[in-house]
């Protein structure tokens, strides 16, 4: 029945003069290959699915130079099988073979082919994507096929999509009574996404009742879309905020708490990112099984590497500068130059490829929203980092000792606090946090020697807006800036948006010269 279905499905399939679809696929011209795929899909040949899959996965091989019988082989785990028969053949000499490569047109052909084939696949997910494809193509010709699929579709979700696909197809075709068409319109209205809207918008010369229905549908689709876009901007703002927060939280320690004007902060982030790269390489080399989790290993690794580096820096450099905080600017600036060049010399000036594990790629559809998974993770991670940081500071009065040392180093020593210890620890902590931020940023940005430079200014801005030395402030500052930016962007474009944010910042500081949460009273001057 599958065959029947298919032949019904694509009645308009143009048969290529050459006849044999396999020969066409073996051809070198992409357009012919594409026709071959289409023809094969509709030919009802039982090998169709296997061959097309092989083609998609780049497992399909042809003879390097033209041959009348145009042989095709599928490379399997064990060896080669003949594409036509599926019978195993002894491996031909590699030099004679060429992989059949595909381009966009071929891929498109494969997609529709699979759409047709997929409708009757075992796996509901596959059926769903197939249905989606058909919905998108809204091809009246496919109507009968869709209906046939609907009749024996058990899965509610898939059925829904099929109904929508049917509605789309119906509306595109010009048959169907007014009532059925109106029903179809409502069907699409429920779906209320851009594609539905556009499809409806593209319908003209409908009978009045239908036209009215369409207008209505479009109207409330628009309303919903407007709402969603608001939520969407909010989300963008928050996720940008999360990135800023990550970038800044390390600085909130080294600068906010310690008062070190830490120009090398960006390089700490960079260190974290490169650690990620190295870890991924090592994992890939030593235990490929864990590839997916290289990132998770990188987080503590980055913390240790950057943190360690931080401690070294503090011991060898910063500690001589307490009491002359302004000079830390000079030293750390020099340091950042050195670190950048060091990375450039070790890894080369070009970007490094940090891969995203599967669980961090792709996106979720929540209502009208498309939330990219990596951003979700980053938001979560940012909050975790901040939370962890606060916890650490609570723990064993560490935070108290740190603040005591920073407020009056000599008196802290008199109270028996190991000041050198605290200094090193604090700077290490801040650097380590920056390192962890680097892991996250490696997922959304270039891993290059300049990575740090892209974040240093924003980081300082965030810390300052939040009010120096106030972690909550850093949180709010980051989110505030993120949201402002993302709400301006749609109207003014990205470039002006950034300018406006900066101006906003300047004015904001006028109003709140001590940041979001200023200290009041005598303590402020003390």
């Amino acid at each position: 029945m599958l065959i029947a279905a298919l032949s019904a499905a694509v009645p308009t399939a143009p048969a290529h003069a050459g006849g044999d679809p396999f020969a066409q696929i073996a051809a070198t011209n992409f357009d012919i290959v594409a026709q071959g795929v289409q023809a094969l899909a509709t030919s009802g040949n039982p090998r169709a699915a296997a061959v097309i899959d092989a083609l998609r996965d780049g497992k399909l091989y042809a003879w390097k130079w033209p041959r009348p019988d145009a042989p095709l082989y599928i490379r399997s785990a064990t060896g080669f099988v003949d594409a036509r028969s599926g019978a195993p053949v002894e491996a031909p000499a590699a030099i004679n073979l060429r992989r059949v490569i595909v381009n966009d047109s071929v891929r498109a052909a494969i997609a529709t082919a699979e759409g047709a084939l997929g409708l009757f696949a075992k796996d509901p997910a596959a059926r769903r994507t197939a249905a989606e494809a058909l919905y998108q193509s809204a091809d009246p010709g496919a109507l009968s096929l869709i209906e046939r699929a609907l009749t024996n579709e058990k899965n509610a979700g898939v059925a829904q999509v099929l109904r929508e696909a049917a509605a789309a197809a119906l509306l595109k075709s010009d048959n169907g009574s007014g009532s059925t068409r109106i029903a179809a319109v409502d069907e699409l209205a429920t779906r209320s996404d851009l594609s539905a809207r556009n499809l409806l918008a593209s319908l003209h010369s409908e009978p009045p009742p239908v036209a009215a229905a369409i207008a209505g549908a479009i109207h409330d689709i628009d309303r919903r879309l407007k709402l969603w876009s608001l939520v969407e901007n909010l989300y963008y703002g928050v996720s940008l905020g999360a990135v800023l927060l990550l970038a800044a939280s390390g600085l909130a320690i080294t600068f906010g708490v310690m008062g070190v004007i830490n120009m090398a902060h960006g390089e700490m982030i960079m260190t974290g990112a490169y650690t990620t790269f190295v870890v991924q390489q090592l994992v890939a080399a030593t235990m490929p099984g864990l590839n997916e989790f290289g990132l998770l290993i990188a987080v503590p690794a980055a913390f240790v590497v950057a943190g360690g580096l931080g401690i070294v820096i503090e011991r060898c450099l910063i500690r001589f500068l307490y009491g002359r905080p302004l000079e830390t600017l000079l030293a750390t600036w020099g340091l950042s130059l050195v670190l950048q060049q060091a990375v450039r010399s070790i890894f080369g000036a070009t970007n490094q490829d940090v891969t995203s594990p599967a669980w961090m790629s792709g996106s979720l559809d929540v209502g009208g929203l498309v939330l990219t998974v990596n951003r979700l993770w980053i938001i979560l991670f940012a909050l975790l980092v901040l939370g962890g940081l606060m916890a650490t500071l609570r723990w064993g009065g560490l935070g108290r000792s740190i603040r005591a040392v920073m407020q009056n180093r000599r008196m802290a020593a008199v109270m028996g606090i190991r000041t050198p210890w605290i200094d090193a620890l604090t700077f290490g902590l801040g650097s380590g946090i920056a390192g962890m931020a680097g892991v996250a940023l490696s997922q959304i940005d270039n891993v290059s020697p300049n990575l740090g430079q892209n974040y240093i200014v924003d980081s300082f801005i965030v810390v300052v807006v939040g009010g120096v030395g106030n972690l909550w402030g850093t949180l709010f500052g980051a989110v505030l800036l993120g949201i402002v930016d993302k709400f301006v962007e749609p109207f003014e474009g990205a470039v002006l948006a950034k300018i406006i944010v900066l101006v906003f910042l300047i004015l904001f500081i006028q109003r709140r010269p001590q940041g979001l949460f200023p200290l009041k009273g005598r303590a402020a001057e003390a």
Partner: protein, 374 residues
């Protein structure tokens, strides 16, 4: 006093040095080994401009304790004002031979000159703008900032934001300042071809003179009672209020003066390097300029000049001598200076205060910085 001698020395170094270079370039025939090539004149002129910027920064940072991370903005604005004049000077000699419109405007398809370009064909007008525009910006910015008692790093950051915003703004082509390519391919200033040796030398000498003058001005300011008040403000701003001083107006004066000095430096810079574009606004530039001051020695005017000169000399030399690893060298230099020359290179010459400042003194600055850091 000791300091004074150092100052006089700097002055004579700047002027004398410039004069000698000029002479050796113009009078001595090119064949002679003693001849100073134009290249040297050109970079000397460039350094002198940087020195002016450094001086301006030291005035506000070293004496009023305002750590500005956006002074390059005024430098660049001055540069743009001058650039606009030079652009108009080109006249019909541009590639599109448009008598009024600069090439880049023709290029983005504008048909007539925007109003804010009027007048820039006159040198005097451009000069006025060099002072007025950055001066006004600085005044307005400072007036708001100081009046609402923005201080310490909060001020530093908004100065940074200011220059950053300006950079992005000037990047935009439709601002009418040449987008990120900025302005270049200048022909001549006041009729003197820019690429003629004598013009280059002349510009260099002018720059040296301007530097000396602004140096004297700055010195006069900080040695007056005004200067003492500035230092008092730097140490304990709240306390000065109870003596009846208004710190904000003091800061505003020195801030605006400093901005104007920087702007003039920028105006001299452009004809000598032959290009002005938004990257001059880059936050990094301002920070680098602050670095020069720190290297030379914050709070000693001649230190600022020295720092600017040395760092840039180092940069010029290292980028050719060790192109692949020069950052190690220059970065290392900065670190070494902070560690071993707490008061910058000039710290080597003066022994006005006990090394590293006494415990209490440092505690005091620490406190005041904490103050600032909040």
């Amino acid at each position: 006093m000791r300091l004074d001698r150092a100052n006089i020395a700097t002055l004579s170094c700047v002027l004398g040095g410039a004069a000698v270079l000029a002479a050796m370039n113009l009078l001595i025939p090119a064949v002679s080994p003693l001849h100073v090539p134009d290249f040297v004149i050109a970079i000397a002129g460039k350094y002198l401009c940087y020195a002016i910027l450094a001086l301006a920064i030291d005035l506000v940072w070293g004496y009023a304790g305002i750590l500005t991370l956006g002074h390059a903005a005024f430098f660049a604005l001055g540069g743009y004002a001058m650039g606009m004049y030079l652009m108009r000077e080109i006249g019909a000699r541009g590639v599109y031979a448009n008598p009024t419109l600069p090439d880049f405007m023709v290029f983005i398809g504008w048909t007539h000159l925007p109003w804010y370009w009027y007048g820039f064909s006159h040198f005097w007008f451009a000069l006025a703008m060099v002072v007025v525009v950055p001066g006004t910006l600085a005044f307005v910015f400072g007036w708001f900032a100081f009046r609402s008692r923005v201080s310490g790093v909060y001020l530093s950051i908004i100065t940074q934001a200011l220059t950053y915003a300006l950079m992005l703004a000037f990047f935009r082509n439709d601002m009418g300042f040449g987008g990120n390519n900025g302005m270049t391919d200048f022909k001549d200033v006041l009729g003197f071809p820019l690429n003629r040796e004598s013009t280059e030398t002349g510009l260099m000498l002018v720059t040296a003179t301007v530097l000396s003058l602004s140096f004297l001005l700055a010195r006069a300011m900080i040695h007056s009672r005004f200067g003492k008040v500035l230092i008092a403000v730097r140490d304990a701003e709240p306390r000065t209020r109870f003596l009846g001083y208004r710190p904000e107006s003091y800061k505003l004066v020195v801030w605006t003066v400093s901005a104007i000095i920087a702007a003039i430096g920028g105006a001299l810079y452009v004809p000598q390097v032959g290009i002005i574009n938004p990257s001059e606004f880059a936050p990094g530039n301002s920070i680098e300029a602050v670095i020069w001051v720190a290297v030379g020695g914050r709070g000693t005017l001649y230190g600022a000049i020295l720092g600017a000169m040395l760092v840039n000399l180092g940069k010029t030399w290292l980028t050719s001598a060790l192109p692949d690893i020069w950052l190690f060298a220059i970065g290392g230099l900065f670190i070494v200076v902070t560690l071993f020359l707490p008061r910058g290179i000039t710290g080597l010459f003066t022994t006005r205060q006990p090394p590293k400042g006494s415990k209490q003194a440092s505690a005091a600055t620490e406190a005041s910085m904490r103050e600032a850091a909040r």
